[in-house]
Amino acid sequence: MKLLVLAMALAAAGAEAGSRQVEIGVENLYYRTAESPLNRGNLLGLDPDEDLLRGTLLWREVRGRARGVFRGLVEQRIGGRDRTEWRAREAYLQYGFGEAVTVRAGRQRIAWGSGFAWNPTNRLEPPRNPLNTGLEQQGADAVRVDVIPAAWAGVIVVAARSRTGVSDLPFANEGTERRTAAVRARFLVRETDLAAVVSGGRNQRTLVGLDAARTLFGQATAHVEASTYRGAEMPPARERQRFVRVAAGVLYPRGEHTSWTIEYFFNGEGYGDDARDAWLGQLEGSAGEAYAAAATVPYSGGLGLRRHYVHGSWTRSAVGGRWTTALRAVFGASDGGLALTPGIVYAPRGDLTVHLDAIVPVGPADSEYRLAPVRAAVQARIRALF
């Protein structure tokens, strides 16, 4: 239905010259699962081996100043509880009124913030899959207006609705619905990108954020993205307490094809050892719905259970080349946990790509990534582009 509406709207946009991009894909996300503190007695009903088999479609059409995008999938879960469902990751229409104003409505990504793995100023979208930030993200239902008053400034106003559950996992996690209104003003000042964000709404905290990015010595770039808000997102609510989240990192390209990133993330409301033990103790003592609600905290729109994280990545690729190799790692500096994600992309032709990612959580048994019921994952994707 959404695809039909998009097609009709674009047809109405007239027969101006444009372009079309279509991608068809097949994905298989395989998970090795186990009982864990967040899946006590296999409450989630997982098989030891879980598969999400998907067919995907991207349709992007540009006609003059109008643009329509549909990105969706049909998913068959092959495992403990078979099910089939379809989902639109994006389905939006965009229209530009000259260079000054653009309006976009529908399900869409709102990928703002200079952070690589964490964006503390962005609470508009469903959270990223914590196990592989390289996967396509689910969009938010939103109306967005971009205003560019001058070449050195831009303002985005968004009204969005999204759920806090993480997709791409072998168990349902709907989360709660968030309705958000947000404004982001962006400036270019003395060769530095600066942005200020205010966002708030239902089922969330009102936050104020700042974002800065700058080139260093003509080669590397550095960024700092920070937000502050009153009251915690994770239990306990700590209503009177003010929290800060900061993501700061560097992108460093080296040689012809290689780039490195490193990013530190401070999650002010994250649990210390005592708070983590208290939360796990509460989980131990709860049952039924209370347990299910508490056990999904790490997947419900938070940015991590603990306070200190480091994300690093190494990528080797060449534009138009056949191979891209990457290694991503998230280190939980508070508990010694580590999630390793090696990946490879093979493009035998310019219109065909094969992606293969593995996810390996390691570290102490009580570390964040070992608490989850996923022991390992392999994600394979094939895309044909037209």
């Binding site: 000259g98 070449a151 065909l352």
Partner: protein, 241 residues
């Protein structure tokens, strides 16, 4: 006799443009003040298949440039934006704009972002006319360009510009601060495009790896375009094509 010689010398001096004039004219020889163009980039590496990428580009004045990849399909939508000393990359898969360095190489080839978007050598370098010489059978001015500051991609450039009145640049050699020749650029295949003749093929070769080179071929150029400054902003980059 002395008067005659002095007069002739003055006439010759008057006929030879200044280094600044030569550089200004050469700056506009390939692309005009504002331009929209279609470009093909071929990256050649010994023992490996050639990588070919096509893109559309726009430039305005000496500070603003934008390039969007159009082929192959897997690269489509990737875009680079230059605004003064700032460069950004748009990644369509993540729908995200990332700030990158001007010295970073462009698309894994031998051109840096600064080379691709080198919108004005006049702004970045102080030129000195070092003499005239024949290059590839053509009479040329030889300019020595010295970087104005350390943020510029190369410390020194030896630049050869045709002295037959066309001011077409034909060759450039790029040196590091330590005096090492890093790479060199050859401009050729003068053809009529967008209503006037201009070099349409730029080949950058690397001194670091023999046989490595990257070729830029202009497929179409339109100098008569009116472009809004707001097109060259990260906000506009995010909107996509």
């Amino acid at each position: 006799m002395l008067l005659l010689l002095l007069t002739m010398a003055a006439a010759v001096a008057a006929a030879t443009p200044t280094a600044d004039t030569i550089l200004c004219r050469a700056d506009r020889a390939v692309l005009g003040e504002s331009a929209a163009y279609t470009l093909q980039m071929t990256v050649v590496r010994p023992g490996k298949p050639d990588r070919v990428v096509e893109m559309k580009g726009w430039k305005k004045g000496d500070a603003l440039g934008l390039v969007r990849y159009t082929a192959p399909a897997k690269e489509r939508g990737t875009a680079y934006l230059r605004n003064g000393a700032n460069t950004w990359l748009y990644l369509p898969s993540a729908e995200k704009v990332v700030r990158v360095g001007a010295k970073q190489n462009f698309g894994g080839g031998d051109f840096s972002n600064a080379d691709i978007f080198r919108l004005s050598l006049v702004n970045d370098y102080v030129p000195t006319l070092a003499g005239e010489e024949a290059w590839d059978g053509q009479p040329c001015y030889r300019l020595d360009l010295k970087a104005k500051d350390r943020t510029v991609a190369y410390d020194r450039v030896v630049y050869r510009v045709r002295s037959d009145g066309t001011f077409f640049p034909v060759h450039a050699e790029y040196y590091t601060i330590s005096g090492r020749r890093l790479k060199w650029l050859t401009l050729g295949e003068v053809a009529r495009m967008g209503g006037r003749a201009r070099p349409t093929r730029l080949t950058m070769e690397s001194a670091l790896e023999q046989g490595s080179r990257t070729v830029l071929r202009f497929l179409a150029i339109d100098d008569d375009v009116t472009l809004d400054d707001r097109m060259f902003t990260p906000s506009a980059l995010e909107r996509g094509q």
